[in-house]
Amino acid sequence: MLDLLNDKVKELSDIERKVLSSLSSEFADFEDISISSGVPLDSVRRASAWLSQKGFAVVSEKEVERYCLTSDGEKALSKGMPENVLLETLTQMGGKASFIELEKESQLSKQEFMAALGINKRKAFVIISQGMIEETGVAKAQENFSEQNFLRDIADGKKVSTEFVIDLQKRGLVEKKRVVDRTIKISPNGEKAKEILSSSNVSRVFNIEAPVPELFLGKKAPYIQFLQQIRAKLVSLGFTEMETKLIVTEFYNFDVLYQPQNHPARTWTDTYQLKNPKTGLLPDKRIVDAIKSAHEDGGKSGSKGWRYDWSAGVASRLMPSAHGTAHSARQLVKGVGMPKKYFAIARCFRPDVLDATHLIEFNQMEGFIVGKDLNFKHLLGMLKDFAIEVAGAEKVKFFPDYYPFTEPSVQLSAKHPELGWMEFAGAGMFRPEMLDNLGIKGEAIAWGMGIDRLAMFKLGIKDIRYLFSDDLNYLRNAKGVLL
């Protein structure tokens, strides 16, 4: 029997122990226990319930009547009593004002205004003379003795003289409510427990099945985790990461990529342009001339070219890069290894309206492979590898497509075990107008893919905006991402 008691005592929490030691054989208010034990009132309430459940204390419940504030009372407490508002306004207006002016200036309702005026008149704080309301000066001589203080006391549960309470009740600021009043005293078992606790230092035993508070791990954003693992995959496939820039000249975004300067995609509706800064610098004249001739007459490639007058001015306009291929373009201009594989995960910008399926900026995975003997079969082989390695696809299908910078151009559709068929990548062989004029001797197969749909699937989200989530709870509760 005593063992059982001992076990129960061991399970008591620190707070329960503190509250128990403050209890006596007389019923006491929770407030008093809170003061004597130093435990906050809320914790005392909870500990009392547990102690009573465990048979260490007796809690008595009695229904009593208490005064509480009505909603008007709450308003008066926060904004001031109407009579004070009226008086203060009158003072501000020079101590004298007409009914209409004062009512308007005080911003009181008609009803509030009349009641407030009545009170001030009764207390002789104001008089009415020839249709004007005037201060008497009595209010200043008297101690500032406002009903507002009573309201605060009532709200805090303190005792207030009945006379004032009845007055406030009449004005509809205070009402009587029936509430449950709890008091607590120690039980005989509680006395024994108290004895055990005071006689020896009893260490606590925990209920191992009880729920515990959750902790927030410090962790990476889910989208970052996804992107990092995609990077690791590409590195394992032999790709080297390229540098990316958020702001590029149209030269890299379009011209190097053999996109003619009157191409519809270069108009404002499809890409952003900059107001400040407006233009950037073009690279070496040798390179600029090579690109110019690629456009105008095909240059060294044997192509007819686009046959128009190419403008360096247009090419030097700046813009936030609209596709990842801009970075491949820069790499081609800087020079490439032979053979070599390149990739970039690039932030891209297009004028879209943010909604559940569109982002204003997004990430594109982009790259190319250069080599001497690459052909169309290799292009398809590479795409198939990607679909399987990166997206876990079961089947792939290829469709003819169009890009200004590749010929042939392919679109890859992949069948994902859960997402079904989806457009997964655009790809192709870089055009000879680009490679031949930049002096790259070999073939280059290029690819680009939007990885956001795959990211959404891996992150288990339906709304694309969660990739850049501004909801701390989502981030705190998000599971770790594994490709």
Binding site: I224, K275, L281
Partner: protein
Amino acid sequence: MPNLEVSKKDLEGMLAQKFSKEKLEETLEYIKGEIDSLEGDSLKIDCKETNRPDLWCTEGIARELKARMGKEKGIKEYKVRKSDVSVFINSNLEKIRPLIVCAVVKDIKITEDLLLQMIQLQEKVGENYGRKRKELGIGLYDFDIIQPPVYYKGFKDDEIEFVPLEWKVPMRPSEILSQHEKGKAYGHLLEGAEFYPIVIDANRTVASMPPIINSNTTGKVTEKTKNLFIEVTGFKWETVETALEVICMALADRGGKIFSCRVVFPSDKKPYPAKQLLTPVFSTEKMSFDKEIINQKTGLELKDKEIIDLLEKARYNVSVKGKKINVEYPSYRTDLMHPVDVIEDLLISYGFNNVVPQKIEMNVLGSQLEEVVFNDFVREGCTGLGLQEIMSYNLTSRQIQGVNMGLENESFIEIANPVSLNYEILRKNLSPQLLDFLSKNKDKEFPQRIFEIGTCLSLDAKAENGVKQSTNLCVVLTHSNVNFTEIKSVLVSLCKYLGLSCEVKKKLFPFLGENSAEIIVNGKKGFIGELKQEVVSSFGLRKPVVLFEFEL
């Protein structure tokens, strides 16, 4: 890329074959087309052939598919008869809109399907191939009302007036540009011009003001029209001639007879192609290249016969002579610039999905950017300190980056055509974005301890792209009792782990309170401190905030 709408029945009629949806899907790959929707008879196609206006109508699709499906082969020949219509071009349009080419198509039975296709073709060619009518405008007229010869001439505003389509009273050109729907839409194309281009006949009846609007008199084509007059205006011979041929072919495929017009140019110097020409010309071009390139590029092992067969399916006339292959194609195929374009056409005939993918054997090592590896190292330190990483956008507002921070006069990288004022600039610092994040999470549990590693941009006149791009780290902590010591602990502990030197020097910043300092981490500058009360309030926050940010 053009979105086309055709009648499925009409297309099936032209091909004399019915299609299931699956079969149609597969067949449309030949024109780089994807089915957008198929509802009842209405078939919407997303056609990716951006540079092939000949495909942008039912007639054109059918023409291409007939060959790809083996029903026809090689270049389709069109018979052109001579009409006695002459068109005279005035030199006063040389700097404004110099070229016009014309044709007459007779005995055409205009059905509802055909009329819809003609309107669509005219619009798609003008919008896409003609770059929103800038480079070409197309007009179709009832030929029986026009009195040849036809003149293409510039008029001053007070010299001419006519009733535009869908209008009742005559208007001056300037009135059309300011009042008519089409005038408002395309008027900018004639902005500042000394003359307005007018197509006018021998009776001084105005046919149109290209590329804006036809006249209501001659420019109305209905199901009653039997003979059509067609004109295309623009700047480049090749472009206008292509558009004219594309339209004539479509009408001829419907049973019309093509008649040429004699176009007389003011001179034979650029931009004019000759002194005079009969249009449409329907010329062909030739390309000759090493046969070997085909197998090199495709990885296939095709025999001469197969190559010829596949290219004839793509409507080339082909011959092989020794190592060379000679292809001939219609000159409206302006998309063909290099042998690779011909090779892609061959592969489309072959079928991309009939090519067996081959693995790339390439022994190369991959690597990440050093900077990316380092960022991840920093990230590891931050998460170890229990901080939650967030990701914000680079695009943001002047309000968040400037006004809220008390940095009203700061200059930023500015977007010229923002979609919304919330995304009008690119961020210069991360701190404002993290504070904005906190403002959206005031109701979440405290303490809140977050960080971001991200790109920041500032103006830099010396840089090639006019900006300095850096990667910054920003850490922000907020709870009721947060103070300078707590944030400095994070900074110092982190730098210790990362092996970075860290100097803290007292300095005031406009957005930080008294307890603030400049930090120099590994030689790069940043700031640390308690956020000023005004800044806390301007972000609508209630609890104190401490933060640091520096360039990595």
